[in-house]
Symmetry: C2
DNA sequence: CGTGTTTTTGACTTCAGTCAATTAAAGTGG
DNA sequence: CCACTTTAATTGACTGAAGTCAAAAACACG
């Protein structure tokens, strides 16, 4: 197991963004033993059934998490970006229930679960930060359930784009900000529970209506607040901050 | 804060079902300081925005967790049964993002977060069990995402019924088993992302096709395996066991 | 026994899926 | 740098599953 410089800094940034960490806490996190590997787009980071003895941390790039139905269709359950924990450190380790696949070139760190748990016991602040991170993840999944269940095509895509913005700009979106879409339209479809054809048409409509502007895989958001409203997007799960006024769509 | 006999035993049963706990661990869990309250159907257990200084454990009955969209529609994000943790113990406590409402008469225990976290630090097995419980919860949410996204009306209802069976019979379902439906058709609709009318028609079809038999709010499952197949239901998230052969629908 | 909720049904509409074909982009190798 | 292949995006015509509106029937409860 190679110890690599400050490669775990995305983890420190993530946890430190949730809970205040002392210098010693941060140093202890960076000092965790780990190995880093690079994964190419389309390759798997985690396969269903894998028993992970390490906690995988996404250092850079995007991945998606998916599951295959009994009928052979794919369903994307979430996307992950820099700083995300790709599997929850449980003891004993449990077999993975879904696939995690690289969307872009990706760097992943593997930290032995025992070390993560030992550190979180030794340093309460880190333990708390991990709990909070996990709780935020739960929050994101709930937002996805909500996104699938009670929104039309435009809203679903809008919500997903909002999430991408949050993952690309941790500080939050703004008018005119741009994101590179790491998903093909087929992947967008599997993530929103629609068909490729309908995704394509919906993108066209969103563009006509001025919610997005696009060229290639680059999406520009002219009016961030308007997009959030369309997608009924609540940023709190992604920011970690839970300030209501930022979240609630204007009711008027 | 009243200390009430062995009222926390559902918590012990839940955590002990995930991870082997020693007698001392179990005793320590039962000895956690807590108060118990009874909530009537329709009343809220947790309200959006509540800042919980306690960890709420469902001792008996069923609740659902929902969120209101900006347009005023309700979306049910999950149902909870005996032994479920209704909020994740984070420090500092975060405001709740959704409502938890009683479906039946319900008993809820409130345990101060500090005590939960202290115990999980003092007793690693309990800490591990809590992590695992949380991870199982994540797993259930993912199953819901999948349920919303890529299943038709029959499949969605079937999946929800499978979950209800698992929650009513922790040992697992069997042919001829019966569950009392704690949800009205309107609630079923909000939980599956459909309309009341369509839920009603789908129930009728499921009955005609022999997947369920019903009178009042009681649902009988003549063929458990067949229902699981229809709903592409993977029991692992609910059982805690992750044995694949039980999960995978027969492919033939 | 009346009142309010839940369930059921019918007629009609619409959003999204299906099938199939075309165009555009991105590689690949000579 | 250009033919050739492959993958991704786009479009059209048609179908179908689920939503909408509205009303009746059944049930639950004080």
């Amino acid at each position: 197991m190679r110890i690599v410089g400050h490669s775990l800094s995305p983890l420190v940034a993530r946890l430190g963004g949730r809970i205040a960490l002392s210098k010693e806490d941060k140093a202890a996190l960076l000092a965790l033993p780990h190995s880093v590997r690079t994964v190419q787009p389309g390759d798997y980071v985690i396969r269903e059934g894998d028993i992970a003895h390490s906690c995988h941390v996404l250092l850079s790039g995007f991945t998606h998490r998916h599951r295959m139905s009994a009928y052979g269709t794919r369903h994307i359950l979430g996307i992950h970006g820099e700083g995300d924990l790709l599997n929850l450190p449980t003891l004993p380790p449990l077999p993975a229930e879904d696939f995690v696949q690289a969307l872009t070139v990706v760097q992943v760190a593997a930290v032995p679960i025992e070390d993560v748990l030992a550190l979180s016991r030794a340093r309460p602040a880190i333990g708390n930060a991990l709990w909070t991170e996990m709780s935020a993840e739960v929050s994101v999944f709930r937002a996805w359930i909500s996104n699938m269940g009670r929104r039309d095509a435009r809203g679903r895509i809008a919500h997903l784009f909002c999430e991408l913005v949050m993952r690309s700009y941790p500080a939050g979106g703004s008018d005119g900000c741009t994101v590179t879409l790491p998903l093909s339209q087929a992947e967008l479809a599997d993530a929103t529970g629609m068909t490729t054809v309908h995704v394509n048409r919906t993108l066209k409509i969103l563009e006509q209506e001025g919610f997005i502007r696009r060229q290639r895989r680059r999406i520009m958001i002219p009016d961030w607040r308007r997009l959030k409203e369309l997608g009924d997007f609540r940023a709190s799960a992604w920011t970690g901050r839970r300030d209501r006024d930022e979240d609630v769509a204007q009711a008027d």
